[in-house]
């Protein structure tokens, strides 16, 4: 794309000081988001996906957290250097964010109307009356019935799905160029999730807002995003277009994730889980962070941290070797066959024993 990206994160480094030492929550993360594009960030808890998004908003609590290095270029300006008052002009205005749990991110003692008009009056210089009218429009845009009456309700008077709609309406209030959605449907039931995802897709087409969609649900990523980055242990380990990532995953962690989820439209008799435990971020050694859990681990993986390298056009992965999904499945099949053979052998032993006696 010839146009400069809307957001460019370069070598971002975020650290947290804890009693046990410094945790590198985000480690040398680089990615970009183009205008109007939806980028998915996939990762498990502790992978650094939420910390990355909070850093873009400059919402990392400091102390204990701090952006230790790197740049966050938004429309050419480096947000890392912005003062708090400069940031306030960006937040909720040009970049806004919706969170996982709408109950804890809305103020329970203020009416919805008050919370929605605040940013409109602040950023868009609207009069209270204009702001109220705009808030009514926004609520009806996100599909809330009787918006003029609901404006005077408190958050607890809304259901979970409705609250998330209010959050989305607030997020879109000032026509942001970038919307960060941090697990926006994780707390919702599946039929409500379908409503919200449909709403986000419709709004994206109507407003042309770029979205960073953070989730751990690969199904949601498949339906919502144009491009995906996969994070593990505070690092980007794979980056590709959504189609490419799902059809040709090249990082053993991504392959493992795809193989470990049961699919509604498939028949698996047994899942192939990723062995081991999620990484300990306190540990600081030069090695591939996924090495302890990887089926293909080799000598070299323990001595150097692989950086992203190109494995296909517009597809990068942080793995030293050429590994694809077939190889892992073949390996898993071999393992199961070996286990079965061992079982059979043991059974024959027992039978032979019994016959002998």
């Amino acid at each position: 794309m010839a146009e400069a990206p809307l957001l460019e994160v370069k070598n971002l480094q975020v650290q947290f000081k804890t009693a046990d030492g410094v945790v590198n929550a985000v480690n040398n993360v680089s990615f970009s988001v183009n205008r109007g594009e939806t980028l998915g960030i996939v990762g498990e808890s502790g992978s650094g996906k939420s910390v990355t998004s909070l850093s873009i908003m400059r919402l990392i609590p400091s102390p204990p957290g701090k952006i230790a290095g790197g740049q966050i270029l938004f429309d050419g300006d480096n947000l890392v250097d912005f003062s708090e008052s400069e940031m306030r002009k960006i937040r909720g205005n040009r970049i806004s964010m919706i969170f996982q749990d709408p109950m804890t991110s809305l103020n329970p003692v203020l009416r919805i109307g008050r919370q929605m008009t605040e940013s409109l009056q602040l950023h868009m210089g609207m009069t209270p009356k204009q702001a109220r009218n705009r808030a009514i429009d926004l609520l009806s845009m996100v599909g809330i019935p009787a918006p003029d009456k609901r404006l005077d309700d408190f958050p607890h008077q809304f259901s979970g799905g409705m609250r998330q709609r209010v959050m989305i309406a607030m997020g879109l209030a000032c026509n942001p160029e970038l919307l960060i959605a941090d697990e926006p449907t994780t707390a919702l039931d599946v039929t409500i999730q379908a409503q919200i995802l449909e709403l986000l897709n419709r709004l994206k087409n109507e407003t042309g807002t770029a979205i960073i969609f953070i989730t751990h649900d690969l199904g949601v990523v498949a339906g919502m995003t144009d491009r995906v980055i996969v994070m593990y242990a505070g690092r980007v380990v794979e980056q590709a277009s959504t189609n490419e990532l799902f059809h040709n995953p090249r990082m053993p962690y991504t392959i493992g994730l795809l193989d470990s989820i049961p699919r509604l439209d498939g028949i698996q008799t047994r899942l192939t889980p990723i062995p081991g435990l999620p990484p300990d971020l306190l540990e600081k050694t030069e090695r591939c962070p996924f090495a302890p859990r990887c089926d293909f681990v080799q000598e070299q993986c323990w001595s150097e941290t692989p950086s992203l390298r190109q494995v296909a056009p517009e597809h990068t992965a942080a793995c030293l070797f050429e590994i694809d999904r077939e190889q892992r499945q073949a390996m898993a099949a071999k393992k199961i066959a070996e286990e079965q053979a061992a079982l059979d052998a043991a059974l024959e032993d027992v039978l032979a024993h019994e016959q002998a006696s």
Binding site: L218, G219, S260, I261, D265, P273, P278
Partner: protein, 339 residues
């Protein structure tokens, strides 16, 4: 493994209503939350019955009512021929050995002040299954069975990750050698890469010890994977029950159809071509459920009869039970609606 054709658990007309009291001095009962409202189903020995539904549909309450953690308002829970709702005191305590539960939240369901050895060892001691030093040996054995290092026996729950804690919870359930385990959302609090480990473990244990599961979850993909039969609940009632393959291939209740179509599939090309049935609105309050069929307020193919009369839970052949007036024509009607 082969499912034997005898019934282990038989539930008949189970109701669980929670009274709602007024705020006044008298605290009069002014209504009831009908969390579970007339369930009848059975679980065969050795099978896994999946129970799915959205939050508030009464699936967890059903699990707890089976264990008599809530005393049901009405109905019978017959386990291996004994009606659990009639049991008290020592007889109930003895039955608890046979029926165990694994909870959703591995952080809240383990006592933070007890070591793993005490958590898993307590039920063994309480039921007098082992004594003295044998308890410790048994705990170590159980830890090994669920894939934990027996060396962890003196550690506290906070020293473990979510997946490991869930393994401790499973070891605790297994400690009394139960026949039946209610798995109440056992993987939904865990990371994706850990979920598969726990699902495989549960399947292995079932084969090893001949366990019967009631697997409660909201994730339809997981339930499909692990269950022999699946029941779908909506607002305190069962709307559909069928063998797993049959339910997913041929859902007859409009709610099941909507639920299945709402599940995202991890394949961008499949996602692009899918047509979703998007249900409008929210689940109505169980305090004041709709008349007739509870689903009629959100059903895309509702007819007048649905608003007036509650459809019977009926077998449409091959053990495929549905509670819908339009069960036989629902798919056709739904497709017409989508176009």
């Amino acid at each position: 493994m082969a499912v034997q054709n005898d019934t282990l658990l038989d539930i008949n007309g189970l109701k669980m209503h929670f009274p709602v009291k007024s705020n006044g001095l008298l605290r009069r009962t002014i209504g009831a939350v009908k969390a579970v409202d007339g369930l009848s189903f059975s679980v065969k020995r050795g099978e896994t019955l999946g129970l799915v539904g959205e939050s508030g549909c009464g699936k967890s309450t059903t699990g707890r009512a089976i264990l008599q953690l809530h005393r049901p308002t009405a109905g019978t829970v017959s386990f291996d021929g004994t009606d659990l709702t009639k049991l008290k005191g020592e007889a109930m305590r003895q039955m608890r050995r046979k029926v165990q539960i694994i909870f959703q939240d591995p952080y809240a369901s383990l006592n933070p002040r007890m070591t793993v050895g005490d958590i898993v060892g307590e039920p063994i001691r309480v039921h007098g299954l082992r004594t003295g030093k044998e308890v410790r040996t048994r705990v170590e054995e159980l830890l090994r069975v669920v894939g934990l290092n027996p060396y962890f026996i003196n550690r506290y729950p906070h020293e473990f990750s979510g997946g490991q804690r869930q393994r401790i919870g499973i070891a605790r359930a297994l400690a009394v050698e139960p026949d039946f385990i209610v798995c109440d959302e056992p993987v939904s609090a865990l990371d994706v890469s850990i979920q598969a480990q726990i699902i495989n473990l549960l399947q292995d244990l079932q084969g090893q010890f001949g366990l019967t599961y009631l697997f409660i979850a909201h994730n339809l993909s997981v339930v499909k994977h692990i269950s022999d039969r699946v029941a779908v609940m909506y607002l305190g009632k069962m709307v559909e029950l069928a063998p797993s393959k049959e339910l997913y291939a041929n859902p007859m209740h409009p709610y099941t159809q909507a639920l299945l179509s709402a599940v995202p599939i991890p394949d961008p090309e499949v996602e692009k071509q899918r047509q979703r049935i998007i249900l409008q609105g929210d689940v109505p309050s169980p305090l004041n459920p709709p008349t007739g069929c509870h689903f009629h307020t959100r059903c895309p193919i509702v007819i007048d009869k649905c608003k007036a009369e509650d459809p019977p839970f009926q077998d449409y052949g091959g053990g495929h039970f549905v509670a819908c007036w339009r069960a036989t024509e629902s798919q056709e009607q739904m497709n017409l609606k989508l176009q």
